[in-house]
Symmetry: C2
Subunit: 342 residues, 2 copies
């Protein structure tokens, strides 16, 4: 900082934004070294040293005002937390461990003050919780707040869990309760004024926690034959896993881990529909060979794990309920290019 | 593709956009293996295997409609070329070699047809030229075209050239002609109708070529004490290098490699101002210890290399010309947060 004060030329507006980012997110030196970061934020690029015996797992994720969050409804610190948490969820889905991230941030000049500080506080909290320090990024101006996060992670060589390994007869599991985040979004949208961020359903929407420990355990134990995270809703994501594996699926409606909404709200909620089509849950969807099904616990690190169906060879996704014959499950989860998105 | 046709559920609008991206950019299997990509586009994340003895170099770069390009003036294939080329320029500046990239793309439904195809053709051309295949990405919808590129590269352990190594007495060099891209932008803005993309100055603006071979050679030979790429203009970028190194600089105006504009246009052009403040050149700026100055050739792979000044201990950037005493160089390059940006 002293050096910077003396060198007065380097104080353009962009530099001021960069300095706030560095100041808020800068990890301790020890943390950088532990994360394999050799050159951090501030140079043309970051330098990362992979551990011997590990492969590098890379993902990038949009988080855009209007598309993924509402600037006037979502608290800035929740935007900061969630942009990293949801990107890290892609690593959980591979059975990988996050190591560091790059932050691409575009924002209007009007958001470079208090909003930016709160955003960075939320991002720092997620970075610390996920043990994933910042390594670099890019900052520019735009009339909307635009965020893109690249997360760099690692898994042992050849141990990444792909979408493509599911076989007919494998059991299908999901972590957590499905539809919680969608219901949280409905609460957020219908609430005027003060938001009670202590509401567990609202918290799931605002501050999701990627299932990193579960994903890493399933990968390490070689228990999951295929895995992905549920970001767009079960009815949209499950066909992607099936397509990648060249298989189909049968889901039991009565097995779905639907939300347990407070009694006062229950009558307005179609919990099954939320579980099938609600997005943003960041739970894990995975398949397990019949011989290993007994090794899957009912809870892992406090999170429920539920068997919801079975992989089939029929190349379609069907839903079984008590009322009648199996029905093809329509893809009604999140699709950004579909007009009239709910 | 056959598998996909049979599995009719997986044909949402987003899937169609993803399929076009995969189909256009998909590298040959051999190329994937050569680039260290173990899992490519289509899973939750990409898997990359670093070569033994190398470090991974990571950068991400915005390329936004309105901020970085004009949707109605820039040809879509130039947008595709440039978004990858300018991101790879950050790797050139570290002396690193690109290995693969991630594409984050947000676009309106109206741009998912012809515009997207041409964009992808330009991106594929850059990907092939730079030997940098796609490894993954994220796609969503937005009313503006938004691009963010993460490039993953490698350099030998401990050989990355940082901004922070310049010492007083080091000579300052720049590659190419400075101000060309800015002048190309002026041509583009003042031209109505058909663009002659054969014009070399326009080409430099539309299809920049990152100085990867030069950067890698300087890093390998340990000749550059500090290096960065010129993206925002010399008067803005040089103080950043100086700040990182805790030094100052003296630039000789008469040594600047100014553009050689056609005679018919010359009278309207302040070539020195363009060289000092023009952005988007993606040339390399680097410093060399006095003992190594004689090892720097006048040309490298067809690109001129010019000595433009010297590093000083004075912690400011000054410009020397024949007309009078040294003047402090104002930072008038690109700053996205400055109002009234030219």
């Amino acid at each position: 900082m002293n050096r910077n004060r003396r060198h007065k030329q380097a104080t353009s507006s962009e530099e001021r934004v960069l300095r706030l980012i560095r100041h808020t997110l800068k990890p301790e030196f020890r943390k950088l070294v532990d994360s394999g970061i050799r050159v951090a934020i501030g140079d043309d690029a970051a330098v990362f040293r992979a551990r011997p015996g590990y492969e590098t797992v890379l993902t990038c994720d949009w988080f855009l005002q209007g598309t993924h969050f509402l600037l006037d409804r979502h608290p800035p610190d929740a935007v900061g937390w969630k942009c990293l948490a949801r990107a890290a969820s892609d690593l959980a889905a591979m059975g990988a461990e996050p190591r560091c991230f790059l932050l691409s941030l575009a924002l209007p000049t009007s958001r470079t003050g208090a909003w930016l500080r709160e955003f960075l506080n939320g991002l720092r909290a997620a970075s610390q919780k996920l043990n994933c320090p910042v390594a670099g990024g890019d900052t520019t101006r735009h009339e909307d707040v635009l965020i893109n996060i690249t997360v760099v992670g690692e898994c042992r060589r050849g141990r990444a869990v792909l979408r493509s390994g599911a076989q007919p007869g494998d059991a299908i599991f999901a972590s957590g309760q499905l539809g919680e985040a969608e219901y949280g979004l409905q609460i957020l949208r219908s609430t005027r004024g003060y938001l009670n961020s202590g509401d567990p359903l609202l918290r799931k929407h605002l501050y999701p926690e990627p299932r990193l420990a579960l994903g890493a355990w399933l990968g390490k134990q070689r228990l999951a034959t295929a895995m992905m995270d549920l970001s767009d809703g079960l009815s949209t994501d499950l066909p992607r896993l099936c397509w990648a594996s060249g298989v189909g699926a049968r889901i039991e409606e009565c097995q779905l881990p639907v939300i347990n909404a407070p009694a006062t709200r229950e009558k307005h909620v179609n919990a099954v529909s939320l579980a099938l089509h609600g997005g943003d849950d960041y739970e894990l969807l995975f398949t397990v060979a019949p011989k290993n099904v007994a090794k899957i616990p009912q809870r892992f690190a406090g999170t429920a794990i539920t068997r919801i169906g079975e992989i089939t060879s029929a190349r379609k996704t069907v839903l079984i309920n008590k009322k009648g014959p199996a029905k093809t499950l329509p893809q009604r989860g999140w699709d950004p290019f579909r007009e009239n998105q709910k």
